[in-house]
C-alpha cells in the first residue's frame, strides 16, 4: 500500500543534505510551510540554496535559517521587504549570495524544471540588469533572453488537504508557488491541514496530483 504520510517532522526531513537546493513555497505568510522550515532549522543541513519569493522577515523561519549561517545563496524576486533585517545584514556583510529573478521568470523556471524543459526564451527582463550576460534571440521582432530551468533537490510546500497518495488541494491564494515547486523538486514534502481517506478528494479538483509529492505531514496549527 502506498503511504506517503510521515509521522513527524524529523521523518519529513530525512535525507536533506548539505548543499541542497531547497524550494520554499508561500507568498508572504500565505501558503508558507512554517513547520517544515522550523524542522529544516532543527535538521541541520547547511550550505543551502534557498529559492523562495521573499528572503524572510523578522528573526524566525527563513530569516532564522539564514541567521544561523546555513544559507549560502538565495534566489528570489523580492528580497528586500518590511522586516527583511537578517537578509539585509548578511547581504551587506557579504555572507549571502543573491540572485534576483523576475517573479514570473522564477515561477516559469521552476515549471520548466518540472515539465522537462531545460531552457526557454522570454521577453521578460530583456535589456535590464537582471539578464545581463544571458543569451538573447529575437522572435517575431521581440527581443528575448534565454532562461534556464530551476530544479530543486527538495521542495517544502504547504497545502490544505492531502491523501496517502500525496494528492493535494489548496486554500484560496495559498496555492501561489506551492504547486509549481512540487513539480520542480526531486523530493517534495508537503505540510497540510488535513489528511483525508483515499478517494475522498474529488478527482476533478485535485490541484497537485500525488506524482509530484513524496511526503505528507499533517500539521495542526
Amino acid at each position: 500500500m502506498i503511504n506517503k504520510t510521515v509521522r513527524n517532522l524529523a521523518e519529513a526531513m530525512q535525507g536533506i543534505t548539505d548543499g541542497a537546493t531547497v524550494l520554499v513555497g508561500g507568498f508572504g505568510a500565505v501558503g508558507q510551510p512554517d513547520a517544515l522550515i522550523e524542522a529544516l532549522i532543527e535538521q541541520g543541513a547547511t550550505d543551502l540554496t534557498i529559492v523562495a519569493n521573499n528572503a524572510g522577515t523578522g528573526r524566525t523561519g527563513l530569516a532564522r535559517l539564514m541567521e544561523l549561517g546555513r544559507v549560502r545563496r538565495i534566489i528570489c524576486s523580492f528580497p528586500r521587504s518590511v522586516g527583511s533585517v537578517v537578509f539585509e545584514e548578511l547581504y551587506k556583510a557579504g555572507k549571502l549570495e543573491l540572485e534576483i529573478v523576475p517573479q514570473g521568470t522564477l515561477a516559469e523556471r521552476m515549471r520548466a524544471a518540472g515539465a522537462g524543459v531545460p531552457a526557454f526564451y522570454t521577453p521578460t527582463g530583456f535589456g535590464t540588469l537582471l539578464t545581463e550576460g544571458k543569451p538573447t534571440a529575437e522572435f517575431n521582432g521581440k527581443p528575448c533572453v534565454l532562461e534556464m530551468a530551476l530544479p530543486g533537490d527538495v521542495a517544502l510546500i504547504q497545502a490544505h488537504k492531502a491523501d496517502r497518495w500525496g494528492n493535494l488541494t489548496y486554500r484560496r491564494s495559498g496555492r501561489n508557488f506551492n504547486p509549481v515547486m512540487a513539480m520542480a523538486a526531486r523530493l517534495t514534502i508537503a505540510q497540510v491541514d488535513e489528511i483525508e481517506p483515499l478517494g475522498t478528494l474529488d478527482p476533478e479538483n485535485i490541484v497537485t496530483p500525488g506524482i509530484f509529492v513524496d511526503r505528507v505531514l499533517r500539521v495542526t496549527v
Binding site: 528586500r80 534576483i100 517573479q103 521552476m110 527582463g125 535590464t128 484560496r172 496555492r175 501561489n176
Partner: protein
C-alpha cells in the same frame, strides 16, 4: 502663463485612471497609487482585477466579518473575491501576464522615457539588492502598460525624461502616463499631452518635464493658444 493650477491628489490620479478602464478588461494594479484605482471603478462596471499571487476577479478589502487570512493580494493586503473569480497557481498566474492575456497593467514608476522605457524597481545600479517582484513580467507582458506617478520628484526633478537614468524595468513598454499634472501618451514621436490639470499651461508642464512634449490635436485649442 499662469501658475494658479491645481495638481491632482493621489486619489484624484487613481480616479482619473479608473475613468479610462472599460468594462470587461482584465487588469493588474501595482502597489501604491495603482492599488487605489480599483476603488474608483464603480461596481456595476465589471472590470476583472488580477493579482499575480494567483487571484483573478479580486474584490475590495474585506469587512470585519468576511476577512480571510488565506486571501491576499500581491501587496500582501487582505482582499475579497468577486463572484466569478478564481484561484490559480503562480505559473498559471504569470502565464496570464506573460502570455499577453491582461488588457492592462497599471504600475508606479520612478521614471518613464519618451521611447516608453520604464524604470520602477531600483533607484540605482549600485542598489545591489532591489526587489523586482513581478514588475518586469507585467511591464513586458500586458497588452497595455500605463504608469501613474507624480510628475516630478519631491525636489522637483522631472520623472518624464528623454532617457531613463535608473535601471530599466522594461524597454519601450509604456503606452500612457498619468501624473498629478497631466495625462500623456507615449507615441512613436514621443510624449503627447492628452490632458492637463486645470489651470496648468503647456509651458508650465514642459518646464517640469525633461523630454520634449507635444500637444494632442484635440488639446491644442482649449488649453493652449
Amino acid at each position: 502663463m499662469s501658475d494658479s493650477f491645481t495638481p491632482l491628489s493621489r486619489k484624484d490620479m487613481a480616479r482619473r485612471v479608473a475613468q479610462d478602464i472599460p468594462e470587461g478588461w482584465y487588469v493588474n494594479l501595482g502597489i501604491g497609487i495603482p492599488t487605489l484605482v480599483a476603488d474608483f471603478v464603480p461596481n456595476e462596471r465589471e472590470v476583472i482585477f488580477h493579482s499575480e499571487n494567483g487571484v483573478l476577479g479580486m474584490g475590495p478589502a474585506p469587512g470585519p466579518d468576511d476577512a480571510d487570512p488565506w486571501l491576499i493580494n500581491a501587496g500582501k493586503q487582505q482582499v475579497t473575491l468577486r463572484r466569478g473569480g478564481s484561484y490559480i497557481h503562480h505559473a498559471d498566474s504569470f502565464a496570464m501576464i506573460r502570455g499577453g492575456h491582461l488588457d492592462l497593467c497599471v504600475l508606479g514608476a520612478f521614471e518613464v522615457a519618451e521611447n516608453g522605457d520604464v524604470a520602477n524597481w531600483a533607484t540605482s545600479a549600485n542598489d545591489t539588492a532591489p526587489a523586482v517582484g513581478g514588475a518586469m513580467d507585467l511591464a513586458a507582458g500586458a497588452k497595455n502598460l500605463w504608469v501613474v506617478m507624480e510628475h516630478t520628484t519631491k525636489d522637483g526633478s522631472p520623472r518624464l525624461v528623454a532617457k531613463c537614468s535608473y535601471p530599466l524595468t522594461a524597454m519601450r513598454a509604456v503606452r500612457r502616463v498619468y501624473t498629478n499634472l497631466a495625462v500623456i501618451d507615449v507615441t512613436p514621436q514621443g510624449f503627447r499631452v492628452v490632458e492637463m490639470a486645470p489651470g496648468l499651461s503647456f509651458e508650465a508642464l514642459q518646464a517640469r518635464t525633461d523630454a520634449k512634449l507635444d500637444l494632442a490635436d484635440s488639446n491644442k485649442d482649449p488649453n493652449h493658444g
